[in-house]
Symmetry: C2
Subunit: 117 residues, 2 copies
DNA sequence: GATTTATATTAGTCAAGCCTAATATTGACG
DNA sequence: CGTCAATATTAGGCTTGACTAATATAAATC
């Protein structure tokens, strides 16, 4: 077991810019990175798992997640600004949901991978 | 359009601990969060996309990604410590690969979602 | 219109993450 | 054994992120 198994072609082109055309534009990387970074925080991930395909008010999220209202509000803002969560205001309350099916898919797979059920 | 559409049951149990049994143990959240956080950095995401299901040496990664060797080495260490990348040393060189099919799946889906091809 | 309820915003502090530069390790080869 | 090549590690400064506490907005209710 010393002969470098499983090696495919190296994909190391002369100009280092070419790589972007193979693995995606750097813009794509930025975008994906930003979205993942927004989702990766433990509280925000908990919020996303909690919301799922429902629609929850801020208060419900605060009570379920268990931290300050201010803290939750700031995390919701991050997710909202990234376009991951959508907000709907009704009278006094604001309801959050995940509109983008791609986000739902990512969360579903994350669950599938990291949770036992 | 004012009557709160798409609302399912609120999933807001009395004891706030119960939530963990519904959306996953807090341990799962931590684990998933850590893995996502490791993958979310733009350079690290680029590394992961570049490696894919190949096996690349550090030098190849450095040249393709385009930053300092030290910088790459540190990012590789983060991914290695998280168990996302596996290293194999052969003589002078170290080859990195993604062993876990779950990680490959996440990357594939991330690509599918954020890249146009 | 004053108070209460629900949410958002701001400011300040503290910790964490990232990059650069320099140095250390490890193996190959003369 | 000394040098080169490949990779890893450490230290330093700097920027960013997160939480707390306090304050602001906005709508409902009395």
């Amino acid at each position: 077991m010393s002969a470098r198994p499983n090696r495919k072609k190296a994909a190391a082109p002369a100009a280092s810019e070419d790589i972007f055309d193979l693995i995606g534009k750097s813009e794509n990387i930025r975008e994906a990175s930003a979205a993942m970074q927004a989702m990766a925080h433990p509280l925000r991930l908990k919020i996303l798992c909690l919301v799922g395909n429902q629609e929850l008010s801020v208060l419900e999220i605060v009570e379920a997640v268990g931290t300050t209202q201010s803290n939750i509000s700031q995390h919701l803002a991050v997710l909202r600004d990234q376009g991951i969560l959508q907000a709907r205001k009704e009278a006094n309350k604001v309801f959050y949901r995940i509109e983008d099916p791609r986000i739902l898919k990512i969360i579903a797979i994350t669950r599938e991978i990291f949770c036992s059920f």
